[in-house]
C-alpha cells in the first residue's frame, strides 16, 4: 500500500464517519438551527467523497450550490422565522418517533439489500479527471440537453414565483368588497408604474452608484 492509497482510505473513513454523524445529527437534534448547520457538514462530506472519486468539478459545484446557496437559504429561512415556542405536549407523542424510526429502518434495509443484490456494472474506464469539465459540457449540450433545459426552466419558474411573491403589496387601507370578485390568478397588489422616463428623476441605479 503506497502513500496515496493510505491517504485515500483514511480520508474515506473520516468522511464516512463525518457524513453519517452529521446526518444523524440533522435528524435527531431538537434544535433546528443545529440541524441546519449540520446539514452543511453533510454536504461538505459529500463533496469530499466526490473529491475522492476524482470528480473535483462536481465537488466544487456541490459546495457552491448546496452549501453556498441551499444551506444558506435554509439558515436564512430559519433565522428569519425562528421563534422560540413551547408546544403543548401531545398525548401518545412517543408513537411518532417510533413509527418514523420503523419506516426509516425499513427503508434502510430495503436500500441496503438493493445495493447488495444488484450486480453493479463497475466502469473500468479511467476517471476523466481534469477533462471532466469538457465531458460534462458536451453531455449537457447533446444527450442531456432536455433534462438540462427542463431543470433551468424549473428554476426560472421558481424565480418568477419568488419575484411575484416578493413584489406583492397588500393594501390594508383598501377594503376588499366581497362583491367585487378578484380576477382569478392575480394577487391583490398595487398597479406598478414602469421606471419613469423623465431624466430629472434619478433612478435607483444612480442612488446606488453614488452611495
Amino acid at each position: 500500500m503506497n502513500l496515496a492509497e493510505g491517504v485515500q482510505i483514511v480520508s474515506f473513513g473520516i468522511l464516512a464517519v463525518m457524513m453519517i454523524g452529521t446526518a444523524l445529527g440533522v435528524v435527531l437534534l431538537p434544535n433546528i438551527v443545529y440541524s441546519a448547520f449540520l446539514l452543511g457538514g453533510v454536504f461538505i462530506s459529500i463533496a469530499g467523497m466526490y473529491l475522492l472519486l476524482n470528480a473535483d468539478f462536481v465537488a466544487a459545484a456541490q459546495v457552491l450550490i448546496y452549501i453556498g446557496a441551499v444551506n444558506v437559504l435554509i439558515l436564512f429561512a430559519i433565522m428569519l422565522v425562528n421563534k422560540r415556542e413551547d408546544f403543548a405536549p401531545l398525548r401518545n407523542a412517543w408513537v411518532r418517533p417510533v413509527f418514523t424510526g420503523l419506516v426509516s429502518v425499513g427503508l434502510f434495509a430495503l436500500l441496503g439489500t438493493m445495493v447488495l443484490v444488484t450486480p453493479w456494472a463497475l466502469s473500468t474506464q479511467v476517471s476523466a479527471g481534469d477533462s471532466a469539465i469538457f465531458l460534462i459540457g458536451q453531455h449537457f449540450f447533446t444527450d442531456f440537453l432536455l433534462p438540462f433545459e427542463l431543470a433551468s426552466i424549473l428554476l426560472l419558474m421558481a424565480m418568477v414565483g419568488a419575484i411575484i411573491l416578493a413584489r406583492r403589496e397588500f393594501l390594508p387601507d383598501q377594503v376588499m368588497s366581497p362583491t367585487k370578485q378578484q380576477p382569478i390568478l392575480t394577487l391583490p397588489e398595487r398597479p406598478r408604474e414602469l421606471v419613469s422616463v423623465s431624466s430629472d428623476k434619478s433612478s435607483n441605479l444612480d442612488d446606488g452608484r453614488r452611495g
Binding site: V195, V197, S199, S202, S203, L205, D206, R209, R210
Partner: protein, 197 residues
C-alpha cells in the same frame, strides 16, 4: 414603445457613466490628498507655539489684587471666587483666597480685560488635563505659577503655524528660529506710522 425603451436604456447608461465619473473625480481628490503635507504635530515631542493673543490658563498675581470683584461681575458665570475681609486697621480689603475653576471657565478673557490693576493675565498653558475635575479648581497659589514656555523646553520641538511662518512656507519642521514671519511685525507698523507723521 421601442423608442421609449431605447430612451430608458440610454438614460440608464448615461447615468451610469455619470456616476462612474463622479466616483473618478472623488478618487482623484483622495489621491491628491496623498501628496499633501501631513498636518500632524507629534504632540508631547512637538508643540505648536501659541499666538500672542492666545487665551490659555489665567495667571493671577496675589499681591496686586485689590479685591474689587470686577472680575466676578464681568464673568459670564460669576466664576472667580474672591474671599476677602475688611481690615479695620488699614481700612482696606484684605484678600484671603482667590480661585478660578478652569473646569468651568470658558476662557473668554473678560476678567483679564477688566481687571483694574492688571493682576489677571493670560498664559500659553492649554494642556489642563487631570484625573479629577476638582483638580482644575486653581487656588491663588496654583494661579500664580507660570507655565513652561514651549520655546524654552529642551524636550519639545516648538513648531510655528499659519501666519507665523515665513512667506510661502507651509512646513514648520526644520525652520531656523530666526526666520522672519510673513508681513510686517506690529512694532514695525507702529514705526512706519510714526515716520509718516
Amino acid at each position: 414603445m421601442p423608442l421609449k425603451f431605447l430612451k430608458q436604456v440610454s438614460d440608464y447608461a448615461k447615468e451610469t457613466v455619470q456616476a462612474a465619473r463622479y466616483i473618478g473625480q472623488g478618487l482623484s481628490v483622495t489621491f491628491d490628498h496623498m501628496r499633501r503635507r501631513p498636518i500632524t504635530v507629534q504632540y508631547p515631542y512637538e508643540k505648536l507655539i501659541p499666538s500672542e493673543r492666545f487665551r490659555g490658563r489665567i495667571h493671577f498675581e496675589f499681591d496686586k489684587c485689590i479685591s474689587c470683584e470686577v472680575c466676578v461681575r464681568v464673568c459670564p458665570i460669576n466664576l472667580p471666587v474672591v474671599d476677602w475681609e475688611f481690615d479695620k486697621a488699614s481700612k482696606k480689603k484684605k484678600l484671603n483666597h482667590y480661585s478660578i475653576d478652569f473646569g468651568v471657565c470658558i476662557f473668554c478673557g473678560n476678567c483679564v480685560e477688566f481687571c483694574p490693576t492688571n493682576c489677571l493675565s493670560m498664559t500659553e498653558e492649554y494642556d489642563l488635563s487631570t484625573y479629577d475635575r476638582h483638580e482644575l479648581n486653581f487656588d491663588n497659589v496654583a494661579l500664580g505659577r507660570l507655565p513652561y514656555k514651549v520655546t524654552e523646553d529642551p524636550m519639545v520641538t516648538p513648531l510655528r503655524e499659519l501666519v507665523y511662518l515665513p512667506k510661502g512656507v507651509m512646513e514648520p519642521h526644520g525652520l531656523p528660529t530666526d526666520a522672519r514671519r510673513a508681513g510686517m511685525l506690529p512694532e514695525e507698523i507702529a514705526q512706519q506710522e510714526a515716520n509718516k507723521k
